[in-house]
Symmetry: D4
């Protein structure tokens, strides 16, 4: 509810067209919907500029279907992240138009074309072959949110020439999402080469003292390239949300 809407409501109260009791009620009823297991936030798109997204991990089929249904009826496009192939297939039986992105472990239901909002290209850069799923989640999300998005892969810092060879593509992006596991040094090197915002995504790739992504996370938080910001381990989705907010005119 915007300030204008608030003023309109109060004018109506003053004019007597809206009774006091009803105004009290409306002031506390914001547009979300109780679907039994969740409060679907139809208002988020207005408030935050992107629709609510369903985090699939740990949710049961019925829960996802219920929430998707409420959103679909409301006319929204829907994105489900962290959903495996089996669960996705079962849900596609209810939502025929839903599309499963295997690499990214995402399910999308696009009822209307994503309206292009970005002013430039979001470039996803990833370090090793094993980082591909997280990079894919970022790519799918960025495009779902109405952005141009591209991908450079397997350009780890132990063979720095592979990265330097892509310098022009790096320079052409408006925002960069850099995905890396193990020691997580790639965002620092990229951050030192470009003059654009860099969002670093640590991945849980590695073993031993990688500690499920802690090594990469700490590396990125301590980046000596000023201006690099970081999201949670394996959080390709969150990186794409941030990149999308940045990429808007």
């Amino acid at each position: 509810m915007t300030p204008d809407q608030l003023k309109l409501l109060l004018d109506s109260v003053k004019e007597g067209t809206v009774p006091v009791e009803q105004a009290v009620e409306r002031l506390r009823q914001l547009p979300f919907q109780d679907v039994g297991c969740a409060q679907v936030d139809h208002h988020r798109e207005l408030r935050q500029g992107m629709p609510e997204v369903i985090f699939g991990e740990g949710k049961k089929d019925e829960q996802i279907i219920t929430i998707m249904g409420a959103m679909a009826e409301n006319g929204s496009n829907v994105l489900v992240t962290r959903i495996d192939a089996d669960k996705a297939q079962r849900i596609q039986r209810t939502f025929f138009g839903a599309l499963y992105h295997a690499n990214a472990r995402c399910l999308t239901l696009e009822q209307r074309p994503a309206e292009a909002k970005g002013r430039g290209t979001i470039l996803v850069v990833s370090a090793g072959t094993s980082d591909l799923p997280v990079a894919a989640e970022a790519l799918v999300t960025a495009r779902f949110l109405g952005n141009e998005a591209e991908h450079i892969y397997d350009v780890g810092v132990a063979g720095i020439h592979r990265l330097l060879a892509r310098h022009e593509e790096l320079a052409a992006a408006s925002v960069l999402i850099v995905v890396a596991g193990m020691e997580g040094a790639l965002p620092t090197v990229v951050g030192g080469l470009v003059d654009k915002p860099v969002i670093a995504v640590p991945t849980s790739i590695g073993y031993g003292a990688a500690f499920g992504g802690i090594a990469a996370l700490l590396g990125m938080l301590n980046s000596c390239a000023a201006g690099v910001t970081v999201v949670n381990i394996d959080n390709g989705f969150g990186a794409a949300c941030a990149a999308s907010l940045i990429n808007r005119a």
Copy 2:
């Protein structure tokens, strides 16, 4: 060295106006300067859009003076962060025009007016009185880098009405830097209210299980508000660099 410059050099080699040996030399000589304790990177402003900044902590007076001198001679504006009042005062004896920002523990030397580059306002939001120094570092840095910057303070989530009362200011910013210690929940609440990029800065404020900022850092990395990105504990400087890159046209 840009691709154009590279082509020009190779043309010169072809035409014989530049001997091969000299070209080999130039291809490996990039514009940084060895000042004895550091390699001053005069090139960074071109490459990354912001001048090199001196991290003052742990550096001796002479080291700071040497590096500042090399930068000042080159005509750059200079920012020194994490510098206490005593050290700053001693350095001001060499650089008369340098200005000390006590709250932010920063020293600036502005030889030419910072050229305004941002397209909007960077808003720094901080949680408690003890978070003020980190917020101040972000403010000073953001302005040094040519941005409009404002500050809302003491709006912690335990008295949520203080924050909600500032909703319009929040909505008017182009980028937000949200600074909080203890449980670090403020960026999530702010991120849920606006549709702009939010950069979260955990501070080392707190005691016991705050673990010097770890609690706040983890809280911010796990923010349920999609699109919040995070920098290192107490890193107001880094947050402002990121915000500045985002704020440019």
Copy 3:
């Protein structure tokens, strides 16, 4: 054994109706029962005001059945927590009247109606859909212990209006149990809105730097809302025990 009972025993010794040897024996025999794998504490209900509860995780069918049997024979109501559907079903073959609460992963055997002891309502507030099982464990336990208990769900702080809309229900409770994973900020916001005791329950929901609930736990321990207390990760049962002790007249 209460002080009165002790005095009575000593009087009997003095009067010679209880021989010294027998008194020595009784002074060391407190009313618990060895059932082979456990010492069932029939005395707890008198001493602590709530019956012993069986923690089902890691216990074998036979162990649970033996302990339940000893308690049932003694006339107690029985609560088994952390028990999966399969194990519960096998145990229900022995105890026909036992009821399985699937969401809460609890089994209850109520031989007499739970006597209503609370002076108000215990309100369970949970953040995300994935936090529901922990909230359900708290609800089942609170009711088992003789309290009125209600539930508000999916009111995470990234959409703060969903929570504010329930302000009256929050204010009406006598104790609040607030369940949240990820950054665990919900108890702080709730604690800032009400003047009643708030018990925070971190959940293991999240990934990456959530570290199985550590992020939420630390967030809650560092809550800037004074008066919030915390229990172990996923410990809905313990929160309900504490709430029940608080809720008594």
Copy 4:
């Protein structure tokens, strides 16, 4: 602002006695006061039943004096925690009536007698001599908030008879705050003896693998006595706030 106040405001708007613009303004102006370094929350006492308290650590003299002044002018009693003797002495020069509690490291300014609110006694139980300051902070806070409060000290679990000898005092309390460092086992033993809410406070006492209170904190979170809740390390203040909320009729 209560629901009744909201209704009154809207009635006034309807009747025309309050112009719409003014109502909009009041709806966003809640009663806090900007004192330059903080937003003093005069509203907290109404909202949460206890006045705002000043956390002294890391605040400068001027900041404390400014905030105390705003609160004192408003007629509030004032409590400053974590304040050392030197700083307290300097502040007492401005506020003559302020009283310093050396053991507890607290400063209180009581302008009107604390109105007795509790329905019973809050009992603080502490384990070792070194835990006394944290226990004292809890005692001072509990009394400041209008409660009867008593103290049992040096009753660590390695000499369990010292604790058992105080059984009647334990049983007579309405809420217990149990303070312990090292292995932090005392709250579990106390929790097993009484049928009242127990709030556990880990202290940073110990060395080596005590890790500044982590051992005690973990011990308390894993208490096998159901119903024990925990606050942050050394947080005697927070424990007393929780106990005070519980102790009210």
Copy 5:
């Protein structure tokens, strides 16, 4: 090889009954045996007073059979720890006389009666039903090493009377092994009641902030009962070895 044996060897060299080359060889050949995957240490029983024991976890059937065979041929009794029922059953096909202890997950092969060496009774005390397997490993090991050993179970500190009722048995032991998970407070309470060595064994029982036994381990290391020593999490075997060394005349 004992000092006496060394002297004997050197005497033999002097007398010429042992050639120098052979003495050199013997001085470097100590009595262990290469069985392909391991160096079986037949010498350990002489050197350390207990035979080598096979840690079964992670070893393949063939590896265990090979090592057991080499030990059995040498006339030793054999103990295999951390071995599940299936693997044990397969190995019993080769060693008919081997006995599987299901609770303790141990396999023993006793070729000659364990010679009784202890001067008193080793008492194993355990806290909860879930700690039984670790306690059982300690019991089986203690008896295998020639000690009298008894067991008191389910005497957790939240119902302290269950423990106090067994005071005489506690006092009668010559060494105590105290096994507990969760907050691990039992060894401290026991250590405060007896004047005998107490060995504490943390178990991995618990959830959330139990962190797989870390809470119990830290609690025990910080025990305020002087004289408690600690072994690794779940290491019932190691505790029994230490107790056995202590129990010898």
Copy 6:
């Protein structure tokens, strides 16, 4: 109070020589003494076979003097650990006979000769020069408790021959306390050479990844020499208490 004393008391009650009220009182009055800041446990020597010891760290002069006074009046020998030279000197002004052990940072007051209780020698073995203070604390404590005690120092495992050369002394001890920082490997090597109980004491010596003794602590807990038990970091006192209990006939 022993079982015999209990029987005597009950006999007196039966015979009427002790009134019931007095018996009730005595059953709850165990022999400890409230000295204002502590409950001095005069009973410990009977119960645990060693007198209460004062942990000096963090205690004020007055507190130590008060507790020492109560113990001295009772005729006990007194040991204060973790006390620096200045504080000790101030306390010696009150207790002239007290002796300060500078290396061990201990103060002892022996009013009667320590009665020799041990059946053999406690041998303290330490790794590096920096581990000497912890070893000294163990030595002073062991002797204070009535044991013969010796010391072998600077025999770290990186020069294994230094240790092997002392083999006979190792073999002659009845209990060994092995003190080491850094990687903490010494107890394992010693444990593999002897057939006596080995108590490992990690020290906080080291830097970087030594983490204040964590590396040594973990090394010792994971010792592959069965029968090694461990105490807290730098806890020479606790190791000597355990060794003393073991060393008694």
Copy 7:
């Protein structure tokens, strides 16, 4: 591309035999190959002296086959690490000549004999039976890279004589790789016996406070034997790479 090659290229440009555009292109085209999921780095052998190696864990069959194919076509020998028997068998259907090393979990395809490069023998020393797979990975890798390599196993420090008996073999090696889990003390003891480089490999063997290899890792980083260096937990491959670089003339 070597400096010589660069000079040659520039000479060609000068002479006009290579057009400027083509030179620009070549300067940015280094010899790696995009195979769809990876950038195969054919250049590494020249640059680093060893071929690129495929880390098998988490890679799908198709990805491994694609990368192996690109390398095989280029004439390289191929090593795949961390690959289980099933996956290896499926891949052998495509590459008939590939050899699976079960203990080491490695697959090798040798198209030309590994050219012997080392100047001495790499000796792998391992502590327990469970450390064998990591040791085997080191052995296979060392030989694949053209080195002589030998293995001493089951020489843990708890039976130090087993190690001392192999002193000559230790002394004869040119580089030593020492593999150990649990407390990880073996590299320190070995490092104290030889005058050659020692590379320590912690393994994830152990339980409880071994924390998946952290105890061993910390032990090795804190080794008191100067000159020991460390690689990641279970990283036999990396240790062999380092040893191979050291072993070259």
Copy 8:
């Protein structure tokens, strides 16, 4: 004592020129010297190829002087590390020829010229100005041990061109020591550029999530450049020892 010496001794015993008792004695007397607080290991130079080095931190003046004296009398060169300027100055009063290296915090006493043993140059590469002291310790140590050693500084990965410009120097070294704090990415990039052994030294430089060098340490352990090995945080000395062992012919 070498095998040859052992044979000689045994021959002497056989011939009767050495009595058995004396041989027993010599077999246990290895050439180290008890100086009261330490066992000086004169044998180390023979055994390990480098003299014992004194770790100065935490040692008192007298201890250092005693140990230096014993070594100096034996004709050894002496290196003391981690010694501050004041302590060094006091020690120089006893050892006039000793030289203090302020940057490296080392004291050296060279009684005879260090004999040149290395076959190439050890190159120390450091990332930031603050890493200089650790790099200096490595340089001083490497030269003390008889190696050529050079230094490249301030070549952090955020300005990768500074490093690439030094490619020839990197390629010319025989061993590289790479020193970096913060995210510790430099060794990976260097390791990807050269075909020589790289030893990584994490430093404690940084703040917040740098955790005193843990971030850099983890980054280096997880380096994706195969063949990088790691030493403890700030351990420039250890890195130089390892490099020296590698650099020998």
